[in-house]
């Protein structure tokens, strides 16, 4: 009787895992797939993998997994239930992913935006700051009040980098431009994002940028007749007449490449930081802008892709006047990864 129950239960587990696919791929998202931002784009990458490989793969995703103790269990569950490749898509999953990677050496793990690796754990991220350079260029040309508003989430290097990159690009167009930052202390809070946008607009900003995940700020900008940029996804639906473009996260090429590597047996632990050239950062169609701005934007994209322009080419001084990058040099990855200072022209506090 006990044996029967055991076999039945084991059968249940196996039934859940038995399939004709060569590879089961798991995805762990920090937010809901419907956030239309960060997690949504990762899911688009997942769908692209399914499309590319058809029956050879089967994908699973778990959404809204908090970055605390639950993450470890979810990742382990995926590893233990036959998934051979697992993508964990948020910084806070770093330690749990590493721990589970050690426990399951045959499973391959890919961690987004982290820095700890192992033989079976790769890291990957995208050079979103390249996209920021493009939107900084556009904003620089579109602003009439010379004030750009920036809805920022949390003061981590990723966000600081984006602010700096956009500011540097805008000030290249006109050195009198300032960028006002408002921190909302959350990645996703539509109410707060809308409020921040309105506050920025009321203080004179006529172009709004954001590093938060919902379209609320963009919507507020549209309703106020102010230009803005979408974030992570093309948010044109929310601002049909005022979205200039959006920096979209395009994970499909990377996910397809890594899946292929696992299927071919050539997968190795790497650290990938792809940008516009690699296709990981894609700009949404340029809309609602005059032709000369459009041309400048396209040129900026081409220049970055070809390497002719680096968003952090010196000389770069921070707000206190200290020179961080000398003339003729570019900021190296180390400086970019640890960036915790603002360039000249950024207004707003930066918690140390």
């Amino acid at each position: 009787m006990i044996r029967k129950l055991a076999l039945a239960a084991a059968g249940l587990m196996l039934a859940a895992t038995a399939q004709a696919a060569d590879l089961k791929i798991g995805f762990v998202y920090v937010g809901p797939v419907g956030d239309f931002g960060w997690s949504y784009q990762h899911d688009q990458g997942r769908l692209a993998v399914e499309k590319e490989f058809g029956d050879r793969v089967e994908t699973t995703y778990v959404e809204s997994v908090p970055e605390g103790p639950d993450a470890e269990r979810v990742i382990r569950q995926l590893a233990a239930s036959g998934h051979g490749l697992i993508f964990t898509t948020s910084f806070g999953y770093m330690d749990p992913t590493l721990k589970i990677a050690k426990m399951f050496p045959k499973v391959k793990f890919e961690h987004a935006t982290g820095y700890k690796r192992a033989k079976n754990l790769s890291t990957y991220s995208a050079r979103f700051y390249e996209g920021r350079h493009v939107i900084g260029t556009i904003a620089g040309m579109m602003t009439k009040t010379k004030k750009i508003g920036y809805i920022a989430s949390v003061p981590i290097p990723e966000v600081v980098r984006g602010i700096n990159s956009a500011t540097l690009a805008a000030r290249k167009i006109d050195p009198s431009i300032t960028v006002q930052v408002i921190w909302v202390n959350s990645w996703y809070d539509p109410g707060k994002e809308a409020d921040a946008a309105k506050a920025l607009i009321s203080n004179g900003a006529d172009v709004i940028m954001q590093h938060t995940d919902s379209p609320a700020g963009l919507q507020a900008a549209e309703n106020a007749g102010v230009y803005a940029f979408g974030q992570a996804s093309d948010m044109i639906k929310f601002a049909p007449t005022h979205q200039l473009t959006a920096i979209t996260d395009n994970w499909a090429p990377y996910y397809i490449e890594r899946t292929k590597a696992v299927l071919d047996g050539t997968w190795e632990s790497t650290n990938t930081w792809g940008g516009i050239a690699a296709g990981e950062v894609k700009m949404a169609p340029f809309t609602n802008m005059p032709d000369d701005v459009k041309a400048a934007a396209k040129k900026a994209v081409a220049d970055i892709a070809s390497g002719a322009v680096h968003p952090f080419a010196g000389p770069i001084k921070d707000r206190d006047g200290v020179e961080r990058v000398a003339a003729g040099a570019v900021a190296d990855d180390g400086m970019l990864l640890g960036m915790n200072w603002f360039v000249e022209g950024v207004l707003g506090d930066l918690p140390k």
Binding site: A16, T60, V62, E63, G68, R73, Q77, A80, I156, L337
Partner: protein, 370 residues
């Protein structure tokens, strides 16, 4: 029209049965929901509620080498139940006194903060005995947070529900500020995490290959101790009387104010302890997200356990199962996370409804009838 007839005595049978009936009703309602969502009801319910128990059974009965893999999920249920039970037991006592501590989440957070502050400030290579002061700091942190609504209630008659609740937001923002500022790990690339706690501040794991840790001992001890206190000591009697009949308690010389202080500090201290334990055992450093919402779920746990500290242990296990089942349902059935909240809310509704059966008989009568 619903007519309630009081029973001459509260029904003891229903006292034990009402949680069972409530769970049963939740399963039925849940099954209907699954069917409406196009998922196989029985399979969905099995994944949500029964799988961890099945796996536990397998671990018990299979030979050693095959059994090992089945221990993980049951052990995770216990790991998740530990903070729920600790907080739930304390809240059970608090609610019995008719003091509504809704802010356990804030007390949990402050306990984690104070413990973490100690752990991060301790000298390198501190030995294992530091775990004791770490946990004590957790208790203290929770008590400090609970003292505010207690004091404001006693001194100014401010509603403790609202004060304790507002403090949950304050505590969360304080933690956020600390890990982005004073306590941030300088080597952490600017991310809002503190340095990892050193070995001596991590809760010892009891079973290899799992996360089952010493906290389970604390949870069981606390539940039993509180149960003994409530049932067999003068203090417990005092708490129960103040809760059920405050005027009678006043006549008996029991001080309402002292009771408020006592139960708030007790439940706050336990919540703070849960916070410190959970951070130490499952996270290992301070970060903005430390599952403080356990403080709210523990309210359901307390009711599920019929406001009995030992009952809270069982309530915690059931709720932990619903969480973990929810995750598995996401993985295996592609069910959205929101469904777990629906289950938990329904469970509490049915519980509260069934509890009425203990004191009353329900009759449906036409209006106007005697």
């Amino acid at each position: 029209m619903i007519v309630l007839e009081p029973r001459p005595q509260p029904s003891r049978a229903l006292g034990l049965l009402s949680p069972v009936i409530a769970i049963g009703l939740t399963l039925v309602a849940g099954g209907i929901l699954m069917a409406l969502m196009g998922r196989p009801p029985l399979q969905a319910l099995e994944i949500y509620f029964f799988q961890p128990f099945e796996e536990f059974w397998l671990w018990l009965t299979l030979p050693a080498d095959e059994a090992a893999m089945w221990l993980y999920t049951p052990s995770e249920v216990v790991v998740k139940a530990i903070p729920l039970a600790l907080i739930g037991a304390g809240l059970a006592v608090c609610f019995r006194a008719n003091v509504w501590n809704i802010g356990a989440a804030g007390q949990y957070t402050l306990g984690a903060v104070l413990g973490g502050w100690l752990a991060l400030g301790a000298p390198e290579g501190a030995s294992g005995i530091w775990l004791a002061p770490y946990l004590a700091a957790g208790v203290l942190g929770g008590m400090i947070c609970a003292a505010i609504p207690a004091w404001l209630r006693v001194r100014f008659n401010a509603n403790e529900i609202l004060v304790s609740l507002m403090l949950t937001y304050v505590a969360a923002l304080l933690l956020d500020w600390l890990v982005r500022g004073p306590l941030k790990d300088p080597a952490g690339y600017g991310f809002p995490v503190s340095k990892d706690f050193s070995e001596s501040f991590v809760m010892p794991v009891l079973v290899d290959g799992t996360r089952l840790h010493l906290g389970v001992v604390f949870a069981i001890l606390a539940a039993v101790a509180l149960w003994v206190m409530m049932g067999r000591t003068m203090k417990g009697f005092e708490v129960r009387v103040i809760g059920a009949a405050p005027r009678a308690g006043a006549f008996a010389g029991f001080s309402r104010d002292r009771t408020i202080w006592f139960v708030m500090l007790l439940s706050g201290g336990l919540a703070g302890l849960a916070g410190a334990i959970e951070v130490s055992a499952t996270v290992g450093h301070l970060q903005p997200q430390i599952s403080a919402e356990y403080g709210f779920v523990a309210i359901i746990v307390a009711f599920l356990g019929r406001l009995n500290p030992v009952g809270a242990l069982f309530g915690a296990v059931i709720l932990a199962v619903s969480y973990i089942g929810g995750e598995n349902a996401q993985i295996m059935l592609k069910l959205p996370k929101a469904v777990t909240g629906i289950f938990q809310g329904m469970l509490l509704f049915f519980l509260l409804g069934c509890d009425t059966l203990i004191r009353y008989r329900i009759r449906l009568a036409l209006p106007g009838r005697a």
